[in-house]
Symmetry: C2
């Protein structure tokens, strides 16, 4: 059984803050600063260029990828770290479209994260081959699968509502129709006990700065099913995905396995920070995290509905059908969220009216949930949000 009091003690959580936004940016693992300092001073500082060999920097994207893989049901050698999630979306979609090159339709849903849709749009415009990106409601997208569809590209957990797609079921249906799947796990990795191998997923991508607590701008990951790895052509064919990067050949030859999805030089400092967080993840099981997440979110829904009748649940009521966040509709949600943040309860707001709260069992417990709702009750009951200062918009909300 995971000792969540122990894992909580390993994060830096500022005094007076209940942090319900770890689904956007996870907090600082206490050991991360020292880990990055060590990488900088003992490795970069002392080893200089030889750090690529002597400190194992060159193999970090794969080695760390294997550690992330354990949290998403991916076998060793199927996940590699690097770049940003948007870049990995591009890689996955470009590869998938080539495999299904006789089809032109890319299906997604309106609950997909916009950047994924933007990257798909950019790719389709670049290819200029008559591909079409078609969006349906999350609830109906699975019904729209036909043999015309080349790629189904979905984010498993809706970033606004937390609604969870049934990956295994949808992937099965897609495969029966010859469709390749690309799953975005941004709000899944570290939140839901997903099983990529069991679901027979084709491609998956995700970021590490949310539930995996790697810090602002931490590297993304990409999963390619082992059965596809040697047939995918990396559209972003950088030298570190080459079969022999240091031969400096003029011609590209894709490296073996997942290595070919590497591109440029890996961000060693950000990877060191991620590793410190993965050390905490080593103390947890995803099954325990998922069970605890459902407990915490169920409790939160109950307490909020009991005490804040103006907030309307936007997330699925059934814990099995959502990720690790709870969202409520409230017309003045932006201002209400600023009022909460002002009182130490940090969630976030997503247009047009969603107040979003993330629950992260590694460092959030029942006491936090109860205290957060007490503050919410005070803000909502007394309309404390009705203050001009809470209506000022900042660049990032």
């Amino acid at each position: 059984m995971t000792d969540f009091a122990k894992t909580k003690s390993l994060f830096h959580l500022p005094e007076g803050i209940i942090y319900l936004d770890g689904n956007s940016l996870g907090p600082l693992p206490k050991a991360a600063t020292a880990a990055v300092s060590k990488t900088m001073q003992d490795e970069w500082g002392e080893l200089l260029i030889t750090g690529w060999n002597k400190a194992g920097w060159m193999n970090k994207p794969s080695n760390v990828g294997d550690r992330v893989g354990k949290l998403i049901g991916a076998p060793s050698g199927s996940v590699v770290m690097g770049d940003t999630l948007s870049i990995k979306v591009y890689q996955a979609l470009a590869s998938a479209l080539e495999i299904n090159s006789d089809r032109k339709l890319v299906l997604s849903d309106t609950g997909n994260f916009p950047s994924d849709l933007y990257m798909a749009d950019g790719l389709i415009k670049s290819l200029d081959k008559g591909h079409e990106l078609r969006l349906y409601n999350p609830e109906s997208v699975a019904e729209q699968l036909t043999e015309e569809v080349a790629v189904l590209m979905l984010t498993e957990v809706d970033y606004r509502t937390g609604r969870l797609h049934n990956m295994a079921e949808i992937t099965k249906k897609a495969h029966d129709l010859g469709i390749i799947t690309v799953w975005d796990l941004a709000h899944t990795a570290g939140a839901v006990d997903v099983d990529l191998e069991g679901a027979d997923a084709d491609f998956a991508i995700g970021c590490t700065y949310k539930y995996l607590n790697s810090g602002p701008g931490g590297p993304a990951f990409i999963y390619v099913a082992p059965r596809l790895q040697d047939q995918v052509r990396p559209a972003l064919s950088g030298w570190l995905g080459h079969e022999a990067p240091f031969a400096f050949d003029l011609d590209y030859r894709a490296g073996g396995g997942i290595e070919r999805m590497r591109c440029g030089t890996p961000p060693i400092l950000q990877l060191a920070s991620l590793e410190a967080s993965l050390d905490i993840w080593d103390l947890a099981t995803m099954a325990d995290v998922r069970a605890k997440s459902i407990e915490l979110t169920d409790l939160f829904v109950k307490l909020v509905e009991d005490s804040c009748p103006d907030l309307k649940l936007a997330s699925p009521r059934n814990g099995q059908e959502r990720g690790s966040q709870i969202s409520f509709h409230f017309k003045e949600g932006y201002a209400a969220m600023q009022a909460l943040i002002d009182r130490g309860v940090i969630g976030d707001f997503r247009a047009p009216d969603i107040m979003r709260f993330g629950f992260t069992p590694l460092y959030i417990d029942e006491g936090d949930v109860i205290q957060a709702v007490e503050i919410m009750k005070e803000v909502m009951t007394n309309k404390l949000w009705d203050n001009p200062k809470y209506f000022e918009r900042s660049a990032v909300t």
Copy 2:
């Protein structure tokens, strides 16, 4: 006049090492570890998600881009940081090919860094529109420019020999023929006093972990000439290049100016490390660095040729015609370089027979050059490289 003794004192240079590989990975600025720790503890740790606003993370790619811009003759608002150099090559080339969409030829030279060629190859295969990447010798590529050429893509300083292209002259010739130019400044930024604006360059890209000392995996940069910024379509159209990232619209609308070349979430820890290095760069002028670089490399060539007759100069003899590195041909160059590294002189080896030494006036002085050549003389005169242990190949060389 730049005080190079002062700048040298601001780097961590390990005892007993003469580091002539700053053209591959610059050394650690002494202030960088504390700067990154501060970003982690005071910003990430304390501000959590609000750091994107309160700590200015969201604007860092442009603000740091402006600082890098000063070192390469780029006006404010024309450079933005992010991703890796390979990704930025892809962005620049994809944009350039769209501007010249009626032409199909991409010209480069065999001295371009292989990853640039690999990315071009990958892009051309993805586009599948009959583009062709054609390579010439660096010496003759400028003679091959015709009105058939869509894009000329060159690395200004050859990574093997240090040979410097004449950017202004070649760009002028290219423009007269309607060709768009993409300049890779990997071995230029912080080494040569390039003037992108003066040369009327179209696109430029580069990395920061070499002469700009940002650390392993530091972010890349991209420059787009202001006259082109509003007409380029970013092929990699991520949300942070969107006109309004936090509106979460389903449709992509490119942001204004250089901002549209942003893609995903910026690597804040790596950027903090880069900023610590740029604080040192603030104490120097590129004119002084360039003058000192030519002095140091001239001295190195003279001393090596006087004392190591087996080494044949591979770099241009005229300092104005090369970047800030000196390379020598030597049949057993790999082993000889290992023997030097074993004795504290760190350079590197590039196949098939090039021993490469970088000169970085911010922290390398005449005393270092003289001492390095004394050790080289000992190694070469006594054939100290002729030892089986120096012939063992490691993963990164």
